[in-house]
Amino acid sequence: MQHFALEQALNYLIQTGAINLKPLDNKTIRFSLKDLPLDVNFICTNNRIFVVSDTSQHSDVNISLSAGVFFALFKGEDLTDLLRQDKIVIHGDVKIAQLLVDILQSVDIDLEEVLSQYTGDIVAHKAGKIAKNFKQAVQNSSNPIDTIKDGLSKLMITPVVSKLYKNKHH
């Protein structure tokens, strides 16, 4: 679920011109979370970013870190500091990693606000809520990938209920 929301936000920013993807063109950057069976690839191609967990293909840069450090990075912590403290290991071009981290940190925006413009209110609202609960849910779960996928089902099923309910009372 989290990567669905993130992908939406990133591509919205690319489309509005707020992110320039040229320097990362045709690069795949992978975050491997050491303490969770979860890899997240950022595939930068065709002037958009795909965020996927599949690892079939090699990445250009691999960033290996714990889930906690991953979230710290999102919140704006400095990549160089984290590298110096050995909290992050990078295989590949550090400059490319830094460029992506800069972009991810620039997604320090109201996710719900962005998504509501892009995907419609119900989805955005749910996505925002589910994204907020994501970290905790994943950490408490024995199978984080399933947790993420379950988030999607929730997203799909809840609007059906609310929609039907609304229509009935109109």
Partner: protein, 246 residues
């Protein structure tokens, strides 16, 4: 070489399957939209909406919707790509394509091209499209591997394939409910509403014969896609596979 394939639970000669599938969709075309809403309790609209939201499609993109039927995805894509983009709605079946054309005109959607084609032989140059979609269509295609290879060929590098299709649920409860629903309720509703029990029996059977999530993911990767991942929707009753050409 084995020259039979399945048509629902029946084995038929490979060369006959396409005609049999055509018969089904000729017969359901005029009631297709109504039946979709009734049979899925309207959920197909949300599955499609999720597909569009996952597509990463942008203004100016070129998109091919395969097995597009009455055009739900094509309509949504048309709105996303804007005037500078290009959407093609395609289907093997003239009756379904005709319903699609009518539907788009009724909804005031213009600027979509219609092409009658078989997913196994796509009449487009290599590296043409930013996105290729197929919703509830792949299970009807006789040679799925060939169709996937064709989709890979016509996508640009960085292009995205979206396959929305019925799949396998892990939930024992959903499985039981769904089996009862699709083999008892679905054909009966098909009989009542569309006067066509056999077609809806075939649709239920073809869903069971379709590869599960992991198998389809491997088929997408074998067709040449660099990445493929799937998302289960409604507990895995439906799955969206997303393949990326690198």
């Amino acid at each position: 070489m084995d020259n039979t394939t399945h048509f629902g639970f029946k084995d038929v000669a490979t060369e006959d399957k396409q005609n049999l599938v055509r018969g089904v969709f000729d017969s359901v075309a005029s009631k297709y939209d109504l039946m979709n809403d009734v049979l899925s309790f309207g959920a197909h609209r949300l599955w499609k909406r999720y597909t569009i939201a996952s597509s990463n499609v942008k203004t100016g993109d070129k998109i091919l919707d395969i097995a597009g039927g009455t055009g739900d995805l094509a309509i949504a894509f048309r709105k996303k790509v804007g005037e500078s983009g290009h959407v093609i709605l395609s289907d093997i079946n003239a009756a379904m394509l005709g319903e699609g054309r009518k539907n788009l005109i009724n909804k005031g959607i213009f600027g979509v091209d219609f092409v009658q084609l078989n997913a196994q032989f796509l009449p487009f140059a290599d590296n043409t499209f930013d996105c290729v979609s197929i919703a509830f269509g792949l299970r009807n295609v006789t040679d799925k591997d060939q169709a996937l290879a064709e989709m890979h060929r016509i996508l640009k590098p960085g292009g995205c394939l979206l396959i929305l299709e019925f799949s396998k649920t892990d939930s024992e409860f959903l499985k039981k409910f769904y089996d009862f629903y699709s083999f008892n309720v679905m054909p009966t509703l098909g009989d009542l509403i569309a006067d066509d029990k056999e077609s809806y029996q075939y649709l239920a059977e073809s869903i069971r014969k379709h590869p599960d999530q992991e198998t389809l993911k491997n088929m997408v990767l074998d067709a040449g896609f660099g990445f493929c991942e799937y998302h289960n929707l409604s507990g895995g009753i439906v799955a969206l596979h997303k393949g990326i050409k690198v």
